[in-house]
Point group: C2
Chain length 168, copies 2
């Protein structure tokens, strides 16, 4: 199981680190893509290494996609390389997870139309503007898309992420 | 399964948050004790609520003990209430986990004598001075004591923590 996380400077540290460690515990290989290859710093100061630049990431190479939060996700939602990747990945019908501001990227890529989803409450209007059915719950699963609201939801979120990513 | 985490201001944020979320995912109830009841802040700025003061924590009330890292663990290792709790808890033969600077508390309580354990490399001499057999591995299990070195070990550490806490 190879999972791609897409993020950038200013990510919400716990929403990247805790799911990453959880997925690695499960034996998944976790790659990190940012706009450019190299170090990426979270808003609390944790540094992770992006081993891929967005323009070299191929959807077919990954079994699952994970979008952490932080306001940077709203910026990523305006980048063509990110949107093209997410559109291409969604066409493969492989599992996708997003938390907090992360679901905004899914909305911008048009993959939430008519689907139930959640996100950080301050950006719920952005999801609804893209046709999502916003649900205020710790974790929402609609088909192969798993979304969540905030760090305190991580226990509920990751339980479903692991299940859906494993196709269970 | 009721787990007690003992910590204080300056904890290593990811070593408290990620294991806490992981244990909550597993359905464990996680309580946090500090010297005083109330908010406790990590070195990266995350805030958690200590719902217990150390002097009111009773070993018998908990099924497992978890000691996160951060240099604050070295300070806690010098507090009588913490040491008395850990000594009392160890006598119950219930599972204990500690990461990074956390194992220093176990050393100070005398529960690592003759046992294999690991910790952050900068404090390995403190463990050895207390009679532990220091092993430089991501996770070390000796009986019902699980120890680890640093945040990047969390995937290996938590796999064993969950297993040992469940008595498997």
């Amino acid at each position: 199981m190879r999972v791609l996380m897409i993020t950038g400077n200013g990510f919400e540290d716990s929403e990247l680190l805790c799911p990453r460690y959880r997925m690695e515990e499960e034996g998944f290989q976790v790659d990190i893509a940012a706009m450019e290859w190299g170090e990426v710093k979270g808003k609390r100061g944790y540094v992770v290494s992006a081993n891929l630049a967005m323009d070299e990431a191929e959807p077919e190479a990954f079994d699952a996609l994970f979008l952490p939060g932080g306001k940077v996700a709203e910026k990523l939602a305006m980048h063509e390389a990110v949107i093209e990747f997410v559109k291409g990945f969604a066409k493969l019908q492989r599992p996708i997870a997003a938390i907090c501001h992360g679901p905004v990227i899914l909305g911008a890529a048009g993959v939430l139309k008519g689907k139930k989803a959640t996100c950080y409450y301050k950006v719920s209007d952005k999801l609804e503007a893209e046709g999502a059915i916003y649900v205020n719950e710790p974790v929402v699963v609609d088909g192969n898309i798993v979304t969540s609201r905030q760090p305190s939801d991580i226990p509920f979120f990751m339980k479903e992420v692991i299940r859906v990513f494993k196709g269970q």
